[in-house]
Structure formats: C-alpha cells, structure tokens
Amino acid sequence: MIDVEVGWMIVSSLSPLLFAVGAAGVFVRRSSLAMMAGILFMIFAAVLGLVGFDLRSALQGDAEASAGQALGVALVIVVAAQVIVAVVLLVARVRIAARKADASGVTPW
C-alpha cells in the first residue's frame, strides 16, 4: 500500500484535473455519449476527492476515517443506476431518430 501522505497528495491533485477533463467534455463536445462520459468523469473526480479526504483523515488519526470511502461506494452505485437509465434513453432516442431518418436517408448515429 502507498504511504498515506503521498497517496493523499497524488489523489488530491488528480481529482481536480479529472474534473476539468470531464467538464471540458461536457461543455465542448456535442456527442451524447461523450457528454455522458464527461459527467461520469466529473463524478469519479468527486469520488477521488472523497477518497483523498479519507486518506487525509487517516493521516490525522481520525476514527471516522472510512466515512469518505463509504460515501464513495454509495456514490458509485448511484452512478451505475444513473448510467443504466441514461444509456436506455440514449438508445431510445437514437432508434426513434433512425426510424424518422429512414425516409430521408440521413444516418442518425
């Protein structure tokens, strides 16, 4: 296992960078899948932040040091449910667009 202080430093620096990449994807890209991936990366950055603060708490000897990881686990499960719904809606939208585009010959995907 990595030293707690080094792990805290690296994870806390990765978290804002990953959030920036995700935010850039959401605001710049027009593809639905790329925007969804961007949102997921922003959420994963938040989970990384939770783990980073968890490590920081462990470094300070806090007895509740695992609360950040517990919240991260719950967040990841909620994200999984969110992605299932998002993918289904995405597929439904594309299939409807495909039916409408049959007559015009435009590729919807």
């Binding site: 990595i2 792990g7 490590l55 299932i84 597929v91």
Partner: protein, 190 residues
C-alpha cells in the same frame, strides 16, 4: 520514491489520457467506451493502491457492467449482428434480450452485495482477523453496512427501483419500436 509511488503516478497519467480520449479525441462511439473503461480500470487500480480496496472492487464491477451495457447498446443501434440478435428476429426478440441484460446486471449487483456482506460478516470471526492483506476492507464494510445501514438500504432500494423501471421502459420502447418499425417498412414498401 518507491515502485508503488511510480506506479501510482503512471496510473494517474493513464487515467487522464484515457479520460481525454474518452470525452474528446476518441475515434467513434465504441472507441470512446473503450477509453472510458481504461480510465475506470486505472481509477480502480489507484483506489486499490491507496488502500480503498472496497471502493476499488465496487468500481471494477460497476465499470465492467457499464461498459457491457453501453457497448452493447451502441452495437445494437449500429445493427451489428455479432452483438445483437439475428437481424430478421431483432425487433421481435429485442425486449426480452434487453430485459435479460438489465436483470443480469441487477443480479450481479446483488451477488456483489452478498460477497461484500459475507466479508463483513467474516470480519467478526477470528479467521478474518488474520486477513492482513486487506486491512481496511472490513472497516469500510462495517461503516457502510452497520453505521450507514439506512443509507445503504436506500441505495439498494433505489437501484432495485431503477432496474425494474428500466426493464419496463426498455420493454415498452422496444415493443413500440418493433411494431412501429414493421408498420413503417410495410407502408414504405407496399
């Protein structure tokens, strides 16, 4: 600087590069899914390296499920026969096909919860006291399952409700698309 720190830095770089390709430079939708999976796996390895073993395991399972669903959805939309059902029966078989996928993921989540609960239960025995390889696994499981039990129950109920609602939604959507598409084909080619 030891080997673990070098590995952690390399994984951080791999995560950022994969994330950049997934949201920006990826070539095609399925390539984006591959890059997203690479980033998620790198993140899972990072969590494991810094000691968040429970989170690493959960993220690994969840990202695998997400990749399966997303990749299959794209392949289904693109009409690739190796991932979807055979073309002549696609519209008819699709609802049950999708339901199986969604229910399979739900079953996988419950299986993961059972394994997780078994670890937490084993943590109260003397045998698990010797598991020094996963020093914080039991602690995290205890916090989630015992101290945050109500929140865990809410999340589980949310996941169950979303899974069931998604199954109904997909079945209704696929059924409507199948009948509508067939009608459209007949009207277009009388």
């Amino acid at each position: 600087m030891n080997f673990g720190v070098i590995l952690l830095v390399a994984l951080c770089i791999a995560t950022l590069v994969s994330a950049g390709f997934a949201v920006g430079i990826g070539n095609g939708e399925r390539a984006r899914v591959r890059w997203f999976l690479a980033a998620a796996l790198s993140l899972s390895a990072i969590f494991g390296l810094v000691g968040a073993t429970t989170l690493a395991l959960v993220l690994l399972l969840v990202s695998a499920g997400q990749g399966l669903v997303t990749f299959h959805a794209i392949a289904f939309v693109e009409g690739l026969d190796e991932y979807a059902v055979p073309a002549p029966d696609r519209q008819r078989v699709a609802p049950s096909h999708w339901l199986l996928i969604v229910l399979g993921i739900g079953a996988g989540a419950y299986f993961a919860s059972a394994v997780w609960g078994a670890f937490a239960d084993a943590g109260r025995t003397q045998l698990a006291e010797a598991q020094h390889a996963l020093p914080r696994f039991r602690e995290v499981a205890r916090v989630v399952l015992v101290e945050h039990g109500f929140a865990t129950l809410l999340v589980a109920l949310l996941l169950l409700a979303v899974t069931v609602a998604t199954g109904f939604l997909v079945a209704r959507e696929s059924g409507a698309a199948g009948s509508g598409g067939a009608t459209g084909d007949r009207s277009a080619n009388p």
